[in-house]
Amino acid sequence: MNKIYGIYKFKRGKDVGEFGMVSLAVDIAGVRLRNPTMLASGILGISGKLLRKVAKAGAGAVVTKSVSLRPKPGYLNPTIIEVDCGFINAMGLPNPGVDYFMKEVVIAKEGNVPVIASVVGERVEEFVEVALKLEAAGVDALELNVSCPHAGAGLIGQNAELTYEVVEAVKQKVKIPVFVKLTPNVTDITEIARAATDAGADAITAINTVKAMCIDIETGRPILSNVFGGLSGPAIKPIAIRCVYEIYRVVDVPIVGVGGICKWQDVVEFLMAGASAVQIGSGVIKGLSIFSEITEGLKCFLEKKGYEDINCIVGLAHRV
């Protein structure tokens, strides 16, 4: 495990001079991003035009809403609720189904940044079928959502064997890179991360939301129609950082960090924990300018610290 101790790329205190000289570009399993910020799955990613808009607003890549074989209406409302430091959602993976969604992918591609399609299924064969169709539609990579905390498919990501099976089946069929998105709702996330990479995952995305619920005290009723949902936003950032840090120690593939990112400092923290890129979900509530604000902040930080390349800080917190 050369990587754990080998922060060989780490350069310190070197004056890089001009602002523009700092490189923010990253490469995740062959997917090249102009900067390390991506739109997280399930946020706005239901239409090609919205994905294109997010790309134009400065995201380095965009991830689509999780797409299944057949259209899914999702759960009845309320599907999202704000709590202290975040949101709890149980959308129920609404999506128009892969056959229709292929048309939206074409429009999303006009944003000129990599489009990563999130895939969800009830069974192994469904994952494979959806993955193949999205590959044919021209997406740059796939992200397998085996981690939704309030849908049946979420159970896959809680079981190392099932995860292995799904990832292996998809990897055998598609040529584009496959990311696997993990759930924190497990005893040991490294076990699942290992299963995914053993099966050939090209990158790990961590984390999906944390299983949660809330009850209205006036009426004594759970608010979400599905009762349980997933917690996102600043509340889960420390959990996500811990997961990325743990996963970095056991896998050799790039990690995409996600959970609670609202500002550039959060991104630096994820990178130092071992992520090579990040995704932003709930933080989009502040507006799409979050992408350009974060990249500006990252540039200033790197410049101030004397790094020429953002990749230099990946995994920094692991150095001994």
Binding site: I43, L44, I46, L50, N77, P78, M91, T219, I285
Partner: protein
């Protein structure tokens, strides 16, 4: 991180008014809620049933109202409420109308008059004249007729009632009557809410004559706060960038406005006339 209005406030139903056989207004206290603007909406939670978007149709000192047309399960549940029952209210959301001056035309088709009523109240203070086209399928479905005739007290204001079958007022389609008015008079601004095909026709006519419009749109709402994308139209979100869109934006939405909306899964559904 965000405002606290994204959590349902539990309010008690204070008053219920039957507006037509399938339309009821429900009033509740504003306490704990930010004062809305005309054109903004609330997500109304009926515990155990659903949470649906409803425009604010009455903005009082301390009281707010919504006006609900019964079309399915959630709206039927709202119709079965009694005074004293509790509902959850999340919001207000969306942009609301922008007030203008001069001579304005207001077109409300069916339940579409709901968000326009508080707008008319505001416009009475800023405009020279107001012409309201109040349209419905038939006289039984006509709502707010008394309310609106009561507030249009100025000499310069007028009210045109239109029904598809002529059972009240003029016989015809609201879009045709409005188009004729736009052709004959010179309005400074047009406000509308109602069936989208009606609004599209009026928009096209207004474009021809160079009159600015504001149209209040509906799309399937889930989060109501600009996160999920469910309510998208073009690159815009009806819950956040709308529900009121002006001519400048409508021009960019020509392949969707009055053409299709999306169902809860995101699949397009074409509007039928």
């Amino acid at each position: 991180m965000v405002t606290s209005m994204n959590y349902p406030r539990i309010v008690e139903v204070k008053e219920i008014v039957e507006e037509a056989y399938d339309v009821k207004s429900i009033f509740f206290s504003q306490r704990g809620l930010k004062k809305p603007k005309a054109g903004q909406f609330f997500m109304i939670w009926i515990p155990g049933i659903d949470e649906v978007p409803m425009s604010v149709s009455f903005i009082g000192e301390n009281e707010l109202g919504i006006t609900v047309k019964k079309v399915g399960e959630a709206t039927a549940a709202l119709h079965s409420l009694s005074v004293g029952d509790k509902i959850g209210v999340r919001g207000p959301f969306g942009n609301g109308f922008t007030l203008s001056d001069g001579d304005v035309l207001i077109v409300g088709g069916g339940i579409g008059i709901a968000p326009l009523y508080p707008l008319i109240m505001d416009l009475l203070n800023t405009t020279d004249s107001i012409t309201v086209v109040l349209a419905a399928k038939n006289n039984k479905m006509l709502i707010f007729l008394d309310k609106i005739s009561n507030i249009l007290r100025r000499e310069c204001d007028s009210l045109v009632v239109v029904t598809d079958d002529g059972s009240a007022g003029l016989r015809g389609l609201a879009s045709d009557i409005a188009a004729k008015l736009i052709e004959e008079k010179s309005y400074d601004h047009i406000y509308m809410c109602g069936p989208e095909i009606m609004m599209r026709k009026i928009f096209d006519k207004a474009e021809e004559k160079g009159v600015e419009v504001q149209a209040c749109l509906e799309r399937y709402m889930k989060c109501g706060i600009g996160l999920c994308g469910s309510c998208c139209i073009g690159e815009y979100l009806v819950c956040k960038d709308g529900p009121v869109f002006n001519s400048e934006i409508l021009r960019k939405l020509k392949d969707e406005f009055g053409v299709f909306k999306r169902d809860s899964s995101g699949l397009p559904i074409e509007f039928s006339s």
